[in-house]
């Protein structure tokens, strides 16, 4: 099974990217929201996902103004009153929170897209196989079933079109019925095949085709340190939010620690990719 040179182990990649999604969604403030977006775009550029990421802006941008307006109208938080709308005070903080929410949401979606791009079906099955081999099998079967179902739907649609039943009532429903009937019938044979090859005989031991390499261990160590720093800084009082008053962050050691750990987690996959490219260029066969 071929694996791209220098790609992080699925566990490390999954942990890093999932944490990036979580951080991007949760840290909504003037410093970390734009930073999340920049780090996400950098990662997308490294992973070859930049074009699709920029398409995501088409999805989120239409919500930019509405979300700002809605948050300003319905949130009573914030102290800097811009104007009064009937009995409600529209504050600067509420407006800015709405804006930064959209930025954070876009960043989280780009990180999620990177996760989808880098964790393919094989890695997904491997990851879930660690929790439950049966769950891994179900995922593998679903991944296998989707193209089959699509092909069958297409065959049925063409059959209906040719045999003159195109304008039949509830034609699409009949197509779906035909595909489902056929799939159920074939699933009996699939079940037989599974039993014939020992399914249910004992708890399966799924293959682990991915090995931890030296760069995985380095990445994991960096990641673990960053998580620890995040926890320590939060536990020792780091807090920065738009509310109650929009202001510059207080640059205490906790803040520096949090920003350092934040950047470490967000940059980890990108830095690894860049480093692996440099290593490849130096070491590749001539």
């Amino acid at each position: 099974m071929k694996y791209r040179v220098g790609k992080l182990h699925p566990l490390v990649l999954f942990a890093a990217l999932l944490t990036a999604v979580a951080l991007a969604s949760s840290e909504i403030n003037p410093v970390l929201s734009p930073a999340s977006l920049v780090f996400a775009l950098l990662a997308a550029a490294e992973f070859g996902f930049l074009k699709k990421s920029l398409m995501l802006f088409k999805v989120t941008l239409p919500f930019f103004i509405p979300l700002i307006v809605l948050n300003a109208l319905f949130s009573g938080n914030g102290v800097t009153v811009l104007f009064n709308f009937f009995d409600h005070s529209v504050t600067l903080e509420a407006v800015m929170y709405g804006a930064f929410s959209i930025i954070s949401l876009t960043a989280a979606m780009i990180w999620a897209g990177c996760l989808g791009e880098m964790i393919g079906p094989d890695e997904t099955v491997f990851l879930f196989g660690r929790i439950s081999p049966y769950l891994a099998l179900i995922i593998s079967m679903i991944i296998g079933l989707i193209p089959k179902m699509l092909d069958r739907m297409e065959e049925v649609r063409i059959l209906r079109k040719i045999n003159g039943n195109d304008k039949e009532k509830h034609a699409v429903l009949k197509d779906i019925t035909a595909v489902v009937f056929q799939s159920l019938e074939m699933s009996l044979e699939t079940a037989s095949s599974m039993r014939a090859r020992g399914y249910g005989v004992c708890r399966p031991k799924r293959l682990a085709p991915y090995k931890m390499r030296s760069y995985d261990c380095i990445a994991l160590s960096v990641y673990a340190v960053c998580i620890a720093l995040l926890i320590v800084s939060k536990a020792s009082g780091y807090y920065y939010n738009v509310y109650p008053i929009l202001s510059a962050p207080e640059m205490t050691w906790q803040t520096w620690m949090f920003y350092f750990a934040f950047a470490g987690i967000m940059l980890l996959p990108t830095v690894n990719e860049t480093a692996q490219k440099i290593i490849w260029n130096k070491r590749k066969p001539v």
Binding site: M1, I162, G164, T190, S192, G198, Y199, V201
Partner: protein, 522 residues
């Protein structure tokens, strides 16, 4: 050593009065390749499934089935899974996972092998079967033949001593089928694995099998070497001769001499008796009104390459036009273009005004949307005569999916003929049919053609086309280089000829099927 044995084994399906298997007794030695033959419904699949506990059908069984002298029902689950392998007809339906690698690993993972051992077995098996380059490929991207080879490899990864195959090449092209058979012979010869298989068409495997067991109505009527079985059938069960390979069928031409079994036997026989045989005059079909005319048609699904390229042909009433071609040559695409489901990129397809076209797909299952055949056929409102003609009357209350392949094909054809089409488009109609079912199906088509319909049939079943086409052509490189009448087309072929042609070439030139031969009395 006996690997498997049946002692007075009988089997009855639930709710049935008639036994599906009646007092079957036989034994198979280690390393044998055993071919189980019989017409549809003779009990072949029932017998094979009972030899593998995990897939044995529910029902009442009497007698004993043994594996390495142990009762099959008392084998441990692990042994039954690993030591006896089972491969069924449908390459796609029996696959569980999404990639080749995972499919090979499935059985090993589920029977408690350590990951390191699993990886080692996969490495070894993929090398033997030549699958290294496609290990990470999705199974949906493979051809039918490749899928079936992966299925056999997945079974072999578990190192069975006995492999049971139920019509493994039913849905495969002749080339894929031949590749699969070569692999099975290699497993037998190089590794001593016992193979028990059934096939709906077994011309090629018949002569290479070590033993043949012939079933009829649940009983073994012949058991022995291919020659012994051929002789027994010919002398005692002449009605079943048509289900045997072409050389054996020479016996039905009235000879009372030694029964030829192999192609070379057939050639020897014809050489010795060449004076008794002559070529029958060909019945030339005159095409009626042109129903379809394709002129310089080109088609592609994307710009990277044309599937059909400057293709031209025409078909008229009263013609059964067979188009042969390899997998991926564009046969199905051509039918869809003719039917109007797709539009040519260049060129034109002219259809007669008001023409009624019906299309029989390769897989007819999606045509059946109701629980009984009667409902699918419109409760016999417009097609009562057709139902009787096609022998479907007794099957009306059954679920369509419970029908055999031949019955389903006839039922699907009935649904299409009910609408009185002018033109029938058939996509691999004989896939899954044994020789007798194929002949019955051909008879229906010929009647439709005599009634003034036209039939275009795309197939890689050379035997069917050689027997029944009025005209035939190759689809090659996106076009039809030339078409010709049945006899002229097939007698000119060297590699894609019927087994009769291979027997008669150079002896009685122009003979492509046995019905082309006239025999004088001895």
């Amino acid at each position: 050593m006996k690997i498997t044995e049946a002692r007075n084994f009988s089997f009855t399906y639930p709710g049935e009065k008639e036994r599906a298997l009646k007092d079957i007794s036989f034994s198979v030695n280690s390393g044998e390749l055993v071919l189980v033959c019989g017409v549809s419904g003779s009990g072949k699949t029932t017998l094979l499934k009972n030899l593998k506990p995990a897939v044995a059908p529910k029902g009442k069984s009497e007698g004993t089935l043994l594996f390495k002298e142990e009762n099959i029902k008392e084998l441990s689950d692990v042994r039954a899974s690993c030591e006896i392998g089972f491969c069924s007809q449908s390459p796609e339906a029996q696959q569980v996972c999404d990639t080749v690698y995972r499919e090979l690993a499935f059985g090993l993972e589920n029977t408690g092998f350590k990951p390191s051992e699993t990886a080692k077995r996969i490495a070894e098996t993929s090398m033997f079967f030549g699958l290294e380059k496609i290990l990470s490929k999705n199974l949906s991207e493979l051809s039918g033949g490749e899928k079936q080879i992966v299925n056999v490899a997945a079974i072999c990864a578990m190192r069975p001593e006995l492999i049971i195959l139920d019509e493994p090449s039913m849905q495969l092209s002749p080339v894929s089928s031949s590749r699969l058979m070569s692999l099975l012979l290699r497993l037998k010869r190089e590794l001593g694995i016992t193979v028990i298989m059934t096939e709906h068409r077994f011309d090629d495997i018949f002569e290479t099998a070590d033993r043949v067991i012939y079933l009829d109505k649940g009983e073994i009527i012949a058991d022995g070497s291919p020659r012994e079985v051929a002789e027994r059938i010919c002398r005692s069960f002449p009605k079943l001769i048509d289900n045997l390979p072409a050389p054996v069928r020479l016996y039905s031409l009235g000879t009372k001499q030694e029964i030829p079994v192999t192609i070379s036997d057939g050639r020897d026989f014809l050489l010795k008796n060449v004076d008794r045989f002559k070529l029958r005059a060909e019945e030339m079909t005159k095409a009626g009104e042109t129903l379809i005319e394709a002129k310089h048609v080109s088609f592609a699904y994307d710009r990277s390459g044309e599937i059909l390229s400057d293709l031209s042909f025409s078909v008229g009433r009263g013609e059964l036009f067979c188009i042969l071609g390899a997998n991926g040559s564009g046969k199905t695409t051509l039918l869809r273009l003719i039917a109007g489901a797709l539009k040519p990129i260049y060129g034109k397809i002219k259809r007669k005004n008001g023409i009624n076209i019906a299309y029989l797909p390769q897989n007819v299952m999606p045509m059946f949307l109701y629980d009984t055949l009667s409902e699918c056929l419109g409760d016999g409102k417009n097609n009562s005569e057709l139902i009787d003609e096609l022998g479907l009357r007794e099957l009306l209350l059954r679920h369509p999916y419970d029908l055999s392949a031949g019955e389903m094909q006839r039922a699907a054809l009935c649904m299409l003929l009910t609408s009185s089409p002018d033109l029938l488009l058939l996509d691999e109609p004989t896939s899954g049919l044994d020789s007798l079912c194929r002949d019955a199906f051909a008879a229906i088509l010929k009647k439709a053609v005599r009634d003034g319909k036209a039939v275009i049939c795309v197939t890689h079943d050379v035997e069917f086309a050689a027997e029944n086409a009025s005209r035939a052509a190759f689809l090659f490189n996106g076009s039809i280089p030339a078409d010709d009448s049945r006899r002229a087309f097939f007698s000119d072929n060297l590699y894609c000829g019927s087994s009769v042609l291979r027997m008669t070439r150079g002896i009685i030139d122009g003979c492509v099927t046995l019905r082309d031969l006239e025999v004088s009395d001895e």
